[in-house]
């Protein structure tokens, strides 16, 4: 029930931000559409289980700043190898083990790997993920496990 309330609140804020018209007719239409979407999610039975909104914490904010730094650095290396040509790339495929316990943690880790250019999560199964990297160095960085450690810290 709490999740349903949260969902309707988020949808209402999203509608208000996107609309910019606040006369009674529009607002009543908004209420109807929010109610309709909540009804559909109830019918699909995805709200109260299998729906884990994460807690917003200071750790999450610092993690995102670190992630932005990583994205910028890996962008520079990928752009360099695009302009220098195919001789500078060394594609590798490897299976890494993850240390996160929860599904949300694994999803954050896999998405962070894909979000940094130069490394892509190709498959995930249990505690193992398959990663394709453009450069051997970025794969070595991942094997060093700093990102893994930071995401695991986020879970607590």
């Amino acid at each position: 029930m709490r999740h349903t309330l949260n969902l309707s609140l988020i949808l209402a804020v999203f509608w208000l931000v996107n609309s910019g018209h606040y006369n009674p007719l529009m607002l009543s239409l908004a209420a109807v559409s929010v109610a309709f979407v909540v009804y559909i999610t109830h019918k699909m039975d995805i709200v109260d289980h299998g729906f884990h909104p994460f807690r917003l914490s200071v750790k999450l904010v610092t993690y995102h700043f670190w992630l932005i730094k990583e994205i910028v650095l890996s962008n520079i290396s990928v752009v360099k190898s695009i302009w220098l040509g195919n001789k500078t790339i060394s594609p590798t495929l490897a299976t890494l083990s993850v240390s996160q316990k929860t599904d949300v943690g694994k999803v954050i880790y896999a998405n962070s790997i894909t979000l940094t250019p130069g490394t892509v999560t190709v498959g995930i199964q249990g505690d193992q993920i398959v990663v394709h990297a453009l450069l051997r160095e970025s794969m070595d960085d991942l094997k060093g496990g700093e990102m893994d450690r930071r995401v695991t810290e986020l879970e607590r």
Partner: protein
Amino acid sequence: MDIVIAVVSAIFLLLGGFLCVTGGVGILRFPDFYTRIHATGVTDTLGAGLILIGLMLQVPDVLVLVKLVIILLMTLFINPVATHALAQAALKSGLSPLLQSKNHKGG
């Protein structure tokens, strides 16, 4: 103050445009599918991000700023998922990646 914001916004827009063209060159230049994914990663993260931040610096009102933030967040959340789904489908269908052999280091 206005001129500083205008210059910073112009720099962001130009850098973003350059990164987008770089991604386009990369998707043409790289030898196989799995390496081309990394080229699109450049345009999807920093290319899109820099252009949208450059636009955010010259917004007329707050509502437009919020919409730009929504577009940026959507790009950053949606693209990794789509890329991952695509790579996984390719690997499952048996498209094997081109790999560098181990003794041929730095080649």
